[in-house]
Symmetry: C2
Subunit: 375 residues, 2 copies
């Protein structure tokens, strides 16, 4: 089959998420060919072509309208900051010839945009994919299998603790765009959003939830690359996220995501407790869409353990799963799945819309003090 | 000063919480003398006197009315199952001669009873004490001091995970009384109640909270002392407690208490995260009113750590505090505090009433799906 021709928005010669994650996979795949780039200017796009030694003929554009007019593009790949997703996707979905679309998570800056874009994609009949790549993580896929197999018995509850790295006391200039809540790129939507997406991928959606959010640090210190304070900057996005609720398939879920780095060694800690066994997923980073947690299965050694903890303790054994060589591992599994290869799965706009609705429910619950449903 | 003469309800020759916790302290204290016991019968009380070789003359009673009529009793100590607290305290508070009262936590089976008893005690002008003895735990007292000193900076949030031992898949006959929710002696009120009381002792009360409760195991297996199944018994009390909210002094608190024993090593895990440092309290049991957590202080090694986790990790050091020799340690600190000795504190009916109001708010939030306040 001829490779799918990709027009990529956001592959920068200065380095970017796209260059570290998508590019290594796409370059070694026979299923995809990058045929066009759009950057801030055609020259910038050319620099990226040169820098990454992209094979074949690559058209270089400085505007989305040129890219979407290119008949040699089958699929538009949007890998830029969230606030730009809407306009780029809207253009791609209005292209003269139908183009499939990929976009990083979050799909859009808010629910309204996400709904509109999902509707446009459905109306146009194009295929969609969203970078909720925690779903491709080997330990998370294995956890999903174990839960589905009944190995844990009935799910009683699950607790997830994470730190988002962003929204500690300091911020660097490249991340200033995350500070205004209306940009939709923050602790809740990105690190917590990816992690809660993984939770729901493994355990199913919430029946209802409530949330407590806080903006403990309404001012951050903007620092230079040496860590020196430049000036104070205002932040309206939340830096503490607590979500709790009942899962549709049973059990109670509690999620706490904090800004900055953990001092307690809990940058990512997730336990899933069932009537027969528990799972423990741990990682050094709360960005579970990028970093791979270890997976452990904890089982009671004998039935006598359950009588008030008497007898020997539980048995905790690591479940061995593939480890990623680099950031393109999870992303690559999704690209493979898009052409029906490998063990990964495709996450569509519709899937992402469910997650946007959940995030909206979290905001609403925090504002109103009431339990919310989102399905 | 003459010792305070105690009339104790619930000291059994067959062993009891009172015999393991109150008795060892009271026997070695010059401040207290046990002058009367009330058990199921005068004979049962006599057996306890003989079994524990109580010094001096101890009157033995089979009814609370006899005990409260005894002019040689200055203070009535109620250490029996929660469903009996109300009638016993009501009798003690109506005694012909004024008597101070001690009662184990929970003060009563529900908020209505607790309010009535607190009102009666205040009207009678007696001193009260409630066994919320986690407040006496050395690591918890030290955590409170560290928070108050500003060592942690501003409190950003706190997360507490615990297992209650009770309400795993099995139950023994001595704990059957905990199963009906109307008895008010369950996972929420006892292990979680003590632990949340410790949280509020250290960090202050909740501004508002919401809660998700579940009764994942509406039937338990009643087992004999060898762990053999006898029959299934119905349980109406919850076995999963998730509470989340904003603290009055700032920060977000999340608490998860589960039934049974943990398979994940999180029988008690509590972190308190401040803008300058964090505290970690850990124990092998979620009954933090009985077992002493270790206390660790986690600090960032340098300011550079906070820029996206670069540089060396945080420094985690144990804070050394006294360790208890036995179950009478925490209880003893409260008895000492009642006579203005030692570093402990007295927890009054009024203090306990705040905790009862919180528990009522937790139930209401779970039932209505709304955020609740209780102060």
């Amino acid at each position: 089959m001829a490779p799918i021709r990709l027009g990529v928005v956001g592959l920068s010669a200065e380095g970017s998420w796209a260059s570290r994650s998508h590019l290594p996979h796409l370059l070694q795949s026979d299923d995809y060919a990058i045929t066009a780039l759009q950057n801030s200017s055609a020259e910038a796009a050319s620099r990226a072509v040169a820098k990454y030694q992209l094979p074949g003929k690559v058209a270089c554009y400085g505007s989305i309208s040129e890219l979407v007019d290119d008949a040699n593009v089958d699929m538009v790949v949007v890998s830029v900051k969230v606030p730009h997703h809407y306009e780029l996707l809207k253009a791609a979905l209005a292209a003269p010839t139908k183009k499939d679309v990929f976009v990083e998570w979050p799909l859009a800056a808010n629910l309204r945009e996400a709904e509109e874009l999902t509707g446009l994609a459905a109306a146009r009949g194009v295929r969609t994919m969203v970078g909720l790549q925690a779903r491709q993580n080997p330990s998370i896929r294995r956890a999903r299998e174990l839960v589905a197999s009944g190995a844990l018995g009935d799910i009683l509850g699950t607790t997830m603790l994470g730190n988002g790295l962003v929204f500690g006391p300091q911020v660097t200039s490249d991340l200033l765009y995350m500070l205004p809540i209306e940009h939709g790129a923050n602790l809740l939507t990105i690190p917590a959003g990816h992690a809660i997406d993984a939770l729901c991928y493994v355990l199913g959606e919430f029946k209802h939830l409530h949330a407590t959010l806080a903006n403990n640090r309404p001012e951050l210190s903007l620092v230079d690359s040496d860590g020196n304070h430049v000036r104070s900057v205002a932040k309206s996005a939340h830096d503490y996220v607590a979500v709790e609720g009942t899962l549709l398939r049973g059990g109670v879920a509690s999620v706490v995501y904090q800004g900055g780095s953990s001092l307690t060694g809990k940058d990512f800690y997730w336990e899933i407790n069932g009537s027969k066994a528990s799972l423990i997923l741990e990682a050094d980073s709360g960005h579970v869409q990028m970093f791979h947690p270890t997976l452990k299965l904890a089982t009671p050694p004998s039935s006598s353990h359950s009588v008030y903890g008497s007898g020997p303790g539980p048995k905790v054994e690591e479940v061995l799963v593939d480890k990623a060589a680099n950031l393109s591992y999870n992303v690559g599994l999704a690209w493979d799945a898009f052409v029906d290869k490998g063990p990964g799965s495709v996450t569509t706009f519709e899937d992402a819309l469910v997650r946007h609705r959940m995030i909206d429910a979290i905001y609403k619950s925090n504002e109103t003090g009431t339990r919310q449903s989102y399905l």
